[in-house]
Symmetry: C2
Subunit: 358 residues, 2 copies
């Protein structure tokens, strides 16, 4: 793993660890944290459900499972900072980790449906949002506070949103939110709050620091040190995105037909319907072969064969989602002061090694 920070622990795997498989092994799943990892006793864990509900309630893990049954969804999580390194190449982004393209991963999540828990509590007609609060305390917040965030009630009522205790058939590891985390498919990873202990129904978005003051898209000319809560736009849904997984960026490869692979992902209820690959920096394009679509909420792997010639070569990839949305070409056009949501075309620099120089 490339470790961007030890405490809080932030790390992403090498590209090859994600290549050619829909489900990501737990040890290759990126880790993005804002405070120390809590060590929680599953037997003592409880979830409080409160706010604009008919009945405030509190649940143990066993009670949740017994009452609402278990459901599974295959879903990709993507950090809002994924591919920030591509923005840093345009203009420096001080104080933010230069995540590469692997702050995204996919698991089969198992838990109860948040919708069922909300139905049981009885949602007030005035409610518009559902907030989550984790157990991890972030010293990076102003003031220091438990990590939190919210999603629209409309999304919270969808069957794919889970309070999950398993990923890929194994109990959640502590670093991924044990004993229970929220999983909000199609939204930035930050909304899938780990170590969740409270669900609050409200008539406005969460007032947590990580909803009001960070994970926000700011205009390029704004100094993030001088913003007020609510400035910019809260991130949530994930726009169509893609990157290469093999070969590595900057790799030297033998000249001739070379297989390139990658992932593409579309948030919300959109799916990836096409991926184009250019072997020559955008002069010509071929269509990639698309891998399995493991449900609405999962990324899609793809591959293409490009002809590698001697010397430097820029290979591009761009994905289309089911709304016919294409990624924007230029990282400069999406640059923003906190370096979020880089979904510009993927760039892979290869160096062709000809047979007689090998």
């Amino acid at each position: 793993m490339t470790v961007h920070g030890v405490t809080p622990f932030n790390a992403e795997p090498p590209r090859a660890a994600l290549a050619d498989r829909v489900l990501t092994p737990l040890d290759a799943f990126y880790s993005r944290n804002h405070g120390p990892i809590p060590a929680l006793d599953p037997g003592g864990w409880r979830l409080r459900v409160d706010g604009l509900v008919g009945r405030t309630s509190s649940w143990s893990l066993t009670e949740l499972r017994d009452r609402f049954g278990s459901h599974s969804e295959t879903a990709t999580l993507q950090c809002a900072g994924n591919r920030r390194a591509g923005l840093v190449e345009v203009r420096d982004i001080p104080g933010e980790a230069p995540w590469g393209p692997t702050a995204t991963a996919t698991a089969r999540w198992t838990g109860v449906r948040l919708a069922d828990v909300l139905d049981d509590a009885g949602v007030d007609p005035a409610a518009t949002d559902v907030a989550f609060l984790g157990t991890d305390v972030s010293e990076a917040a102003t003031p220091p506070q438990e990590f939190g965030g919210s999603i629209p009630l409309r999304k919270a009522r969808m069957p794919e949103v889970l309070l999950a205790w398993e990923m890929n058939g194994e109990p959640l590891p502590p670093v991924h939110g044990a004993p229970v985390r929220v999983v909000v498919p199609g939204y930035i990873g930050a909304r899938s709050v780990k170590w969740v202990h409270r669900v609050t129904v409200a008539d406005r978005p969460s007032q947590n620091f990580f909803q009001t003051s960070t994970y926000r898209l700011l205009p390029p000319d704004v100094d993030p040190a001088r913003t007020a809560p609510g400035d910019g736009v809260a991130l949530g849904l994930v726009a169509v995105n893609a990157d290469f997984l093999a070969p590595d960026d900057g790799a030297e490869v033998d000249c001739g037909p070379t297989r390139v692979t990658g992932y593409a992902f579309a948030g919300g209820d959109r799916t990836v319907v096409r991926v184009d690959v250019s072997p020559d920096g955008g002069s010509s394009w071929i269509q990639a072969d698309l891998g399995e679509q493991a449900g609405t909420w999962a990324w899609r792997h793809w591959s293409a064969t490009v002809d590698v010639r001697p010397g430097e070569q820029l290979v591009l990839a761009r994905a289309w989602d089911s709304s016919a949305a294409l990624q924007p070409a230029d990282p400069a056009s999406v640059w923003n002061p906190k370096g979020y949501a880089n979904n510009s075309w993927a760039r892979l620099r290869l160096r062709g090694r000809s047979a007689h120089t090998a």
Copy 2:
């Protein structure tokens, strides 16, 4: 109106007719048809609901309204061919009307919720899609057939999807689907089937010509005359888009500060959160002032003041939606053989007239 065809009737208004108002007057609402306008007697109209339902049913307009009540939504419709003219400038698109930027409009729609009608019928668990069939027969289809299309069941169950008999408080005019049309907010206009007489729940998308063989995104190198049903990707959700409404493209205007206005729209459940305007062809950008957001399903008007200088000047606009998706810059990157879904940056050519030449 610019009339692209008389029978079927296809027309769009001048830009100015859409400027600076959220709701579009009925006489400025674009018209896209595939056959002659049916003349239907509202008293004799019936809607059949069939397919994968517990109970096939048939409803008069009065029965629908009495049983399910009336609901209203403000929603923008956008033709999949909107802004095709910008693609034609890249490469000709024979046989398709060169729609400008006004094949989109917004109304306050009133009708029953499709979700309520489906609940009443009882949807089979195997169902995945809901198909609509209109009364208009299209000779352009192979073979000639009533116009139809489908949407995913998940969308059909959302409260914003209506079987509507009013727009802007007036009965639907015949050209807009009287007595009843479907309104699918956030989807291409083609799925809002007019003169609807049948709703069919199914386990696959509609097999109607307008679902399987047109309104599909084809790769650029495909000859649309040689495609088979199912080729390419069915359009549905609408990607973030924008264009100018004033001044007119190519206008000669006095030099100095000039107000430019336009619309922006994001399909699905996304909204427009930011619009950037460049007075100088993309060298610099300012943020437009955003108008009212009349609910999740409506476009958003915007305005900005740019400094017009003597001579030719290219003004650009680009919108961002609530997933942080930005429109792609280049119409060439989104060009496709049928000319659908052009959501590249809006371009406005102005000619600055200096005071002493006026």
